[in-house]
């Protein structure tokens, strides 16, 4: 360290150049692809996808990156290979005609070979060199070169020649994939990893509980950072897709936009606005409590807003769900026809958990929904343990939240045990947790809905009665009386009882009103009488007063007349 005191991180140092493999997800794990101009070893057991993997590398190189490739097969004939990959839409014959691909089948027939004395594998070098030069290849695949070991007996020569071959390929600056069969306790049967030291990828095909999962792991990648986990991958009609890195950071953007659950009463319980966009929602409940109906309602609401939704059903077929939802006044078929809703129904046991995750990933990437529903997640436990399901859900939630997709899970709880395992392990992950419970009272089962938690919003702490009717889903305030919580017909009875009370009270009130009216009328007539009395009295008074006035004026007149008469 002291010898190089001035050494600093220099961003100008050329980092390892990489070539994109074109295999979905792999380039993300390797942060750019395979090391350019160097050999990469792909090892794994029989049937784990080595040949397909390398074939995709060649075909994508030829079609997408303008890098012609040579495929040297030591196992399968060129025609067989062409037929095998035709189902993926790869036309190898056309590629060969276009000079983008050169295939060479190396056949080693032990029975017709006799070895005597010194030899080398210059023939192989010349064939390969000729193939590379004839189309200007940048990529080379040697699909299972280990077959040399079974075809030739002098292992010393083969090993020396392989070492020379890999060096020679590096000099030719072609990116090479070498496939090799997995050996006992070693990566490869013949220790090829000793020679190929730049990049080693291990493919695995594991069967757990009769369910198979394909896994990929980068064992080593000299001069590059890479993901070290085992990544599940899927081989389907589009070829290989590797699941991208598990998001380890929690830094995805959040939205404060709110979306309705499709049930007005539920929205009211959630601060009057519904869920956050991009949040995760868990609905748990015992059998037959209407979890699927809530999920269907949410899907319906999403589609009504012209947003896309994928419904992953692990229990019922799409037809079944559509029919059942129609009975509560929701036409999901219309949304399917309009292209807003997509169903994906599969039994959990169809493939391993990881495969489900990959399938969900793929569909989400293709369909770009705003809402994803998984109904129910508890069925997944049949294919994996609780911790595996949890890790799957963590990754799924991470992925969906990064894409700002709202996800709704339903989970079945066993009767009576609320804190059932799935709830326990999943509930800490989700943002909102709704619990639908049976409330059994007076020989009747009714549904009660609680909001167990809902992060970042004010939510109701009340139990609401959850009513499924022909017109849809409704949340009704339960009756809290002296005898406790009343639901169903007990609540209805209580309501009727209250209605009767209101009627009686109303009647009583009107009777009282009438009495008051009568009283008032009586009083008023009395007042009128008194007033009349008063008026006549007043008139009487007025009369005597006027008479007095008249008398007074008359007397005065008389007196003045008398006075004037006396003066005369």
């Amino acid at each position: 360290m002291s010898t190089e005191p001035s050494r600093q991180i220099n961003t100008n140092i050329p980092s390892l150049p990489k070539v994109k493999s074109g295999i979905k997800g792999l380039d993300e794990i390797t942060e750019g692809g395979l090391p350019q101009g160097r050999p990469t070893l792909i090892c794994g057991g029989a049937g784990c996808g080595k040949t397909l993997f390398s074939m995709e590398f060649i075909v994508h190189g030829a079609l997408s990156f303008n890098e012609p490739g040579v495929f040297m097969a030591f196992e399968e004939k060129s025609e067989e290979l062409a037929v095998n990959v035709a189902s993926l839409g790869f036309d190898l014959n056309q590629l060969q005609r276009d000079n983008l691909l050169k295939m060479d089948h190396v056949q080693i027939n032990r029975s017709e070979i006799e070895e005597t004395g010194e030899y080398d594998l210059d023939g192989l070098f010349i064939r390969l060199g000729h193939a590379i030069d004839s189309i200007g290849a940048k990529r080379v695949v040697l699909d299972t070169i280990e077959n040399l070991f079974s075809g030739l007996s002098d292992q010393g020569i083969i090993r020396a020649e392989l070492r020379r071959l890999f060096g020679w390929l590096k000099d030719k600056n072609v990116t090479t994939i070498i496939t090799a069969e997995k050996g006992d306790g070693a990566l490869t049967r013949h220790g090829l990893e000793e020679y190929v030291s730049d990049c080693v990828i291990l493919l695995d095909h594991r069967v757990n509980n009769k369910i198979s999962t394909r896994l990929l792991r980068i064992v080593k990648y000299r001069g590059s950072v890479h993901g070290t986990n085992e990544y599940p991958f899927l081989i389907d009609s589009d070829g290989i897709s590797v699941l991208p890195v598990t998001s380890l950071t929690l830094d995805h953007a959040v939205s404060s936009e709110r979306i309705s659950s499709g049930i007005a009463g539920l929205d009211r319980m959630l601060d009057g606005k519904g869920f956050f966009r991009g949040s995760s929602i868990l609905i748990s409940g015992t059998a037959g409590t209407g979890k699927t109906s809530i999920a269907g309602c949410f899907a319906n609401e999403t589609c009504l807003k012209k947003e896309r939704c994928i419904y992953f059903a692990f229990e019922e077929s799409p037809m079944q769900i559509i029919r059942n939802m129609l009975s509560i006044n929701m036409d999901l078929q219309k949304h399917v026809d309009d292209g807003f809703l997509k169903f994906h129904a599969s039994r959990p046991t169809l493939n391993g958990l990881e495969m489900h995750l990959v399938a969900i990933h793929k569909m989400v990437k293709e369909f770009k929904p705003r809402v994803v529903i998984l109904d129910p997640i508890t069925n997944l436990i049949t294919v994996g343990s609780v911790s595996e399901v949890k890790s799957l859900l963590i990754r799924l939630i991470d992925f969906l939240q990064a894409e700002q997709i709202t996800v709704m899970f339903t989970a079945l709880t066993l009767n009576g045990i609320v804190a059932e395992q799935t709830d326990e392990s999943v509930s800490s992950l989700v943002d909102s947790w709704l619990l639908v419970r049976d409330i059994e009272l007076n020989g009747e089962r009714n549904r009660g809905l609680y909001v167990m938690k809902s992060r970042g919003m004010k939510h109701s702490n009340q139990v609401r009665e959850f009513v499924i009717s022909d017109t849809g889903l409704e949340l009704v305030d339960v009756y809290l009386g002296p005898e406790g919580v009343l639901t169903g017909s007990a609540r209805r009875a209580q309501e009727l009882h209250e209605e009767t009370g209101v009627l009686l009270r109303n009647n009583a009130i009107t009777r009282k009103d009438r009495e008051i009216d009568r009283k008032r009328m009586m009083l008023e007539s009395q007042i009128a009488n008194l007033r009349q009395e008063f008026e006549s009295f007043q008139e009487e008074l007025n009369k005597s007063f006027i008479e007095e006035e008249l008398t007074k004026s008359f007397m005065e007149k008389n007196r003045s007349e008398l006075t004037s008469n006396r003066d005369l």
């Binding site: 056949q107 005597t116 004395g117 030899y119």
Partner: protein, 97 residues
């Protein structure tokens, strides 16, 4: 003794004039002269000159001797230093001395 005259068509694949190739050719010529006098044709193919020919006969190792005729096709790789193996490979019964 066979009535029909058999002809051995032999091809020797080499890559340039390496020591091994030269040894192999010398060995081959010696055996043929000894056991197949006037019944053989040797064609020497230099893959450095004609690399496209390597695929046809499935050549991996150098030097390789290919016996096309008489059937069955056999390949003998190496510098042909073991006479017995070469003769077995070429389907030649050592002629009575």
């Amino acid at each position: 003794m066979e009535e029909i005259e058999e002809k051995w068509e032999l091809r020797l694949y080499v890559a340039g004039k390496t020591a091994k190739s030269v040894t192999a050719l010398a060995n081959l010529k010696r055996y043929c002269e000894q056991h197949l006098k006037d019944k053989y044709v040797i064609e020497v193919i230099d893959l450095l000159v004609e690399p496209q020919l390597a695929e046809g006969d499935q050549i991996l190792a150098i030097p390789t001797l290919v016996k096309k005729v008489p059937e069955p096709i056999r390949k003998i790789i190496g510098d042909l230093s073991n006479e017995e193996k070469v003769l077995v490979g070429l389907n030649i019964r050592p002629t009575a001395k």
